[in-house]
């Protein structure tokens, strides 16, 4: 039984491109208006690049699907002007608990320190996120969403691609300099290009059920190995807005997909878990999963993002989170290339950086799956031995793996200028900047990441010498006041320290003392002008 509700309905509208004698030309066409396509389109439009976003449907609302959004994703959504409604609606959480049978094995805190604008995680039904993004998209002059516009053919050229788009009123053609394929795990564009999607298939089946109830459980992630209510398998309970709870039950490899979704099967299982039947079913689905990826994410002028490029297991909240980080990585690069501010080869760094991130995510989610769903008697013994030892030895606790939750990637990338000085603090080269509470020139509170926004930025601690010039410069102590010392601590800052920040807020370079020529070189390097430094 799949309860599929249409929560937001959008309309097809004829557009002028359909009446042209020859295809209209667009700098970027994004295919797929899920969270990743929407983020890519919004980011590009915010950077002044006109975007057409095509989607074959005209609605949002097939189940809650992805529900966990991580701190880094929220920081990106904030930059894109869509975090506020998500935070207002979402359930904030940071505590996870792992049980075996009835006993608490351990608890973890995902964000043990203060001084960050965004929480560790929020839980939110995916349709609320998509709705917030569609609203934001509608407010942007450079962004046009075309519903019920289905791409049925793609012809690649050296300088772009021609798309054939099917609509309720017949097909039309579009020329794009760049195509972003954000059309999901079953990507039609991937098929049109004949690209292989390779990886590991997992056989265990899982039941996902969203139930509505007035629960007395706290806003924490609770994971059980071998719970008393679901013998021999694992279970997950997680709170969503609107008194909806996500329940995830492992069914084993031999479960009957159809039968398991029937209320006759689902309701007794849930009753046993919850200990009562004062709940209603919102959404049920049985899934298996695969961990796989495209070998390359960039194919000429067609760039793959999100599930179209890589797919992971749901343990660890790495699907939507990593997809939105793809968008964050891609948009500024495309904008630089289209505006002629960077060479076309900058796009290669998207492939390098996000391929490494995909491998990291696939690695984590594969290992979690090994632990949660052992495949042989011996694997089960290792798992159960780890759980038993966890009660007696700290080392085994660290091996218990109920899903390692999404963390942003630190890019080992040609765009970074290697550190010449030793640094401590939590800021790392290639990683997104740690946030910090600051004050602006007028004394108003502002978060560091808000102040940086989406522009290449130099942060500088004055030391009496001439401050750097070049891209935008923010002087700490002048433009931004580090009232509580969070910045100094997290960035290991001392007088003269200078930091070069990429437009996606990742750290590209830093110096204790920076001669202008080094900053200039690092700035060229982050735009992909590497070859001309010989």
């Amino acid at each position: 039984m799949n309860t599929r509700k249409v929560l937001y309905q959008f309309g097809y509208r004829r557009c002028p491109d359909q009446d042209r004698p020859s295809p209209a030309q667009h700098p970027v066409v994004v295919v797929g208006a899920g969270p990743v396509g929407l983020c890519t389109a919004i980011d590009l439009a915010q950077r002044g690049i006109p975007v057409v976003l095509l989607d074959d449907a005209d609605r949002i609302g097939e189940g809650s699907r992805g529900i966990c959004y991580a701190k880094r994703t929220l920081e990106i959504l904030d930059r894109l002007g869509a975090a506020h409604p998500c935070l207002e609606k979402g359930v904030t959480w940071k505590i996870g608990k792992v049980f075996q049978n009835n006993d608490l094995l351990y608890a973890f805190d995902l964000l043990p320190e203060d001084g960050h604008k965004m929480p560790a995680f929020i839980n939110l039904q995916q349709y609320y996120l998509e709705h917030a993004l569609v609203e934001r998209a509608a407010a942007l002059p450079y962004l046009e969403i075309r519903w019920r516009n289905k791409v049925v053919d793609l012809k690649r050229r050296n300088d772009g691609a021609t798309l054939t788009v099917e609509t309720p009123e017949g097909p039309y053609d579009l020329d794009a300099e760049w195509v972003v394929a954000a059309d999901g795990a079953r990507s039609a564009l991937r098929t049109m290009l004949g690209l292989e999607f390779k990886g590991e298939v997992f056989e265990d089946r899982f039941l996902i059920a969203d139930v509505r109830m007035k629960g007395s459980f706290p806003s924490e992630r609770w994971f059980w190995f071998d719970p008393p209510f679901h013998d021999g398998h694992s279970a997950l309970l997680h709170k969503q807005p609107d008194d909806v709870w996500r329940i995830d039950l492992q069914l084993g490899p031999d479960a009957d997909v159809k039968a398991e979704q029937t209320p006759e099967r689902v309701m007794p299982r849930l009753r046993q878990m919850l200990g009562h039947d004062d709940f209603s079913l919102e959404w049920v689905s049985v899934y298996t999963f695969q961990c796989r990826r495209l070998e390359r994410f960039v194919h000429g002028r067609v760039v793959f993002v999100g599930d179209a490029a890589h797919q992971v297991s749901p343990f660890g909240a790495r699907g939507a989170n990593s997809g939105i980080q793809d968008a964050d990585n891609l948009a500024w690069k495309l904008a630089f290339i289209i505006n002629g501010e960077a060479p076309e080869r900058l796009i290669e760094s998207y492939d390098i950086e996000r391929s490494a991130a995909a491998d990291e995510n696939i690695g984590h989610s594969t290992r979690s799956t090994d632990f949660i769903a052992p495949r042989s008697a011996q694997e089960l013994r290792f798992r159960d031995a780890t759980l038993s030892l966890a009660r007696h030895a700290p080392f085994a606790k660290r091996m218990v793996n109920s899903g390692r939750l999404s963390m942003p990637s630190t890019y080992d990338t040609p765009l970074s200028t290697p550190d010449a000085d030793p640094w401590s603090g939590s800021a790392r080269l290639g990683a997104p900047l740690p946030d910090a509470p600051m004050r602006d020139r007028s004394g108003q509170p502002i978060w560091l990441l808000e102040a940086i926004g989406g522009e290449e930025t130099i942060l500088h601690i004055p030391n009496g010498a001439q401050p750097p010039t070049g891209s935008r410069v923010l002087i700490i102590g002048d433009d931004l006041i580090d009232e509580h010392g969070f910045f100094a601590q997290r960035f290991d800052a001392s007088p003269g320290s200078t930091y070069l920040v990429r437009p996606d807020q990742h750290l590209a370079a830093r110096w204790r003392h920076a001669p202008p020529s080094l900053i200039e070189n690092a700035s060229r390097r982050l735009k992909g002008f590497e070859g001309d430094r010989a």
Partner: protein
């Protein structure tokens, strides 16, 4: 003389766990048991201290006890 370390010493415990899983993947159960026996002997020799091994055996035994008894 050293004592058994039960604090985590692994930089990346998930990677170590995965290595063990991969070593066994596709093996019939008897071969798995044989592989594990060899592994234990190799690691016991690597530890090289009888007293530490005794402590490890004791910990393993302790964690075998039924849960109610272990409290």
């Amino acid at each position: 003389m050293s004592v058994l370390v039960t604090e985590s010493r692994l930089a990346d415990p998930d990677q170590t766990y995965r290595a063990l899983i991969e070593a066994h993947r596709g093996l019939p159960d008897e071969d798995s048991a044989a592989l594990n026996s060899r592994l234990v002997l190799i690691l016991a020799n690597h530890i090289g201290e009888h007293a530490v091994l005794q402590e490890a055996i004791a910990l393993a035994n302790q964690s075998m006890e039924p849960k109610d008894a272990s409290e």
